[in-house]
Amino acid sequence: MRRALGRLGHLFLVMWVVASLTFVLFRLMPGDPTLNFLSPSFSEETRAALLKGFGLDKSIWQQYLIYMNNLLHGDLGMSFLQGKSVYALLAEALPNTIILTIVSVCGAYAFGIVAGAFLAFQRGGATEAVAIPVALATRAAPEFWLGMLLLAGLSFEAGWFPTGGALSPGEQPGSFSVLLLSRDYWWHLALPALTLMLYLLGLPLLLMRATMLDVLNDEFIVMARMKGLSRWSIIMRHAARNALLPIVTAFALGLGASIGGNVVIESVFAWPGIGRLLVQAVQSADYPLAQGAFILIAAVLVVMNSVADFVYSALDPRVSLRARR
């Protein structure tokens, strides 16, 4: 319990430093920071209200305090582009990013774990000689390029998938739960999710294979073999359970990292998520929106890092094994 609280404290500390770094980062930009946060297109009253609300007329320290206070209340300012609040724009984009990430990370790990366990048993064979370089190659390819290849082949040439966006033109983007039931949405999701899955696949596959080999050399496996258990039972009931521990940690880290790493995939497929929002915001100098998206992505990453940390210590093989004995 005390350790969990300590971790929580650590999490907030890291979060605070990252938020402060973001504050500093966004004030590094050239020119008048006041102008950077207030679009010339805003009316005189809006400008005055925002100027006051964000304390842009005050000293940098007061601005920092106001920024932190606003952050804690989820007030991230107004976007230049659409005149909407940053909060509303992020809330609109976040579900799309989460769906894309979860579908592809889960797919990659499910397939990677099975394929990795399989490869561990094909050690030294021809399958391995082909599969390992291929797995390494998918990690080495730029993810947006994989996306471009799939887009050119499966969308533009074969015409099987849409070429971008989340809905066909003319479809109404109702509420999110309606969207989740729409076939059109999933049809649009298929290609970006497949790309991301391909890109992410290598890590769980290689990790599973390596830990499986490690575990298979362990004494308790030799024991199981001596007891005359079937090969399948050894793999599934004894080896895989222990080999899964590092994978679970990597899974948590992978979820956090790929929410931020989706930036390029979302841009290739014009998928309306947080990453694309960040790119658009940065390209059009929409600083409040860029800042909000950046903080959100960083927060997800920090939280998932802590989760991975926690899972790792909670599932540490030595600890749990000792408890079981």
Partner: protein, 290 residues
């Protein structure tokens, strides 16, 4: 220096035994050759706008004159890919050197000194791991000025914890060895033990992480360029892909334009992975039978 004179021999023996590492090393060799002799090997000036008769040679397919065809602005794709090796090596080597230098130094300090130094480095690493890589690079590029400098800075500032962690754990075990104790007893200063006795022992490991860092740096440069935050003046594979994407190469099915630069990036990053996989066996014999 017994180690140095035996190095070429050891390297040869290593490459002969490790097929993965040998393939990786030959990819690096080819890329280095292409970069050095780019001006002789490239059939055309990569920036020249080529013409067929009086018309600009746009979107030419693969042919004997243009092995990989031409771009939408009538430039030779093969020549651009060949010149791209220079940008890739420049970004990759610089960033890898900086990131490994920082990681090794901090890993060495925190592993050997322990105590507060260790705590501060671990704490810094935790913060850095909380910064999302690509978004950080984009924001930094947008707020300062886009280009290779930002890529190198981001790679060095955000990727050092991986190297530092591994070097640290290696130093922790080296610190307890008898020869370190012996050096301490004979009156060597802490600085001398760290940099003269311990550092050379961890350098191979650092080089291993360097070969992977080259790959990350090239991928980072490609992603930044693709999103429009690269240096448009540089002839890099990322800039080529961005141009292809922006000029409808995908809907035109101009595979000859967008497939080669990506394949070049992939082979170079893969080379780093292969080398590190091969040398892991050399550095950690315990893992060899995996």
């Amino acid at each position: 220096m017994r180690g140095v004179s035996a190095l070429p021999f050891a390297l040869w023996r290593f490459l002969r035994c490790e097929a993965f590492a040998a393939v990786g090393a030959s990819i690096y060799f080819c890329i280095a050759m292409l970069a050095i002799f780019a001006d002789r090997l490239a059939p055309y000036d990569p920036r020249a706008i080529l013409r067929v008769g009086s018309r600009v040679a746009r979107y030419l397919p693969m042919s004997a004159d243009h092995w990989l065809g031409t771009t939408s602005s009538g430039r030779d794709v093969l020549s651009q890919v060949i010149y791209g090796t220079r940008a890739a090596l420049a970004v990759g080597l610089t960033a890898a050197f900086v990131v490994v230098a920082i990681g090794t130094l901090l890993g060495l300090l925190s592993g050997y000194l322990g105590g507060w130094t260790d705590r501060i480095v671990t704490w810094l690493a935790d913060i850095v791991l909380g910064l999302p890589f690509l978004p950080f690079m984009l924001v930094l590029a947008a707020l300062t000025h886009p280009g290779t400098g930002v890529v190198i800075f981001t790679v060095s500032a955000l990727l050092w914890p991986n190297t530092a962690r591994v070097i640290r754990s290696q130093v922790l075990s080296l610190r307890e060895r008898a020869w370190v104790e012996a050096a301490r007893v004979t009156g060597c200063s802490t600085t001398r033990i760290m940099f003269v006795h311990v550092l050379p022992q961890v350098l191979p490991l650092a080089a291993l992480y360097g070969s992977v860092a080259i790959g990350w740096a090239i991928l980072a440069e490609a992603s930044a360029s693709f999103l429009g935050f690269g240096d448009p003046e540089t002839l890099s594979w990322g800039v080529m892909l961005q141009e292809a994407y922006a000029n409808q190469a995908l809907s035109r099915g101009a595979w000859n334009w967008f497939a080669p630069p990506g394949a070049a990036i992939m082979s170079m990053v893969l080379a780093g992975f292969l080398i590190s996989r091969g040398s892991e066996k050399l550095l950690f014999p315990k893992l060899a039978d995996q």
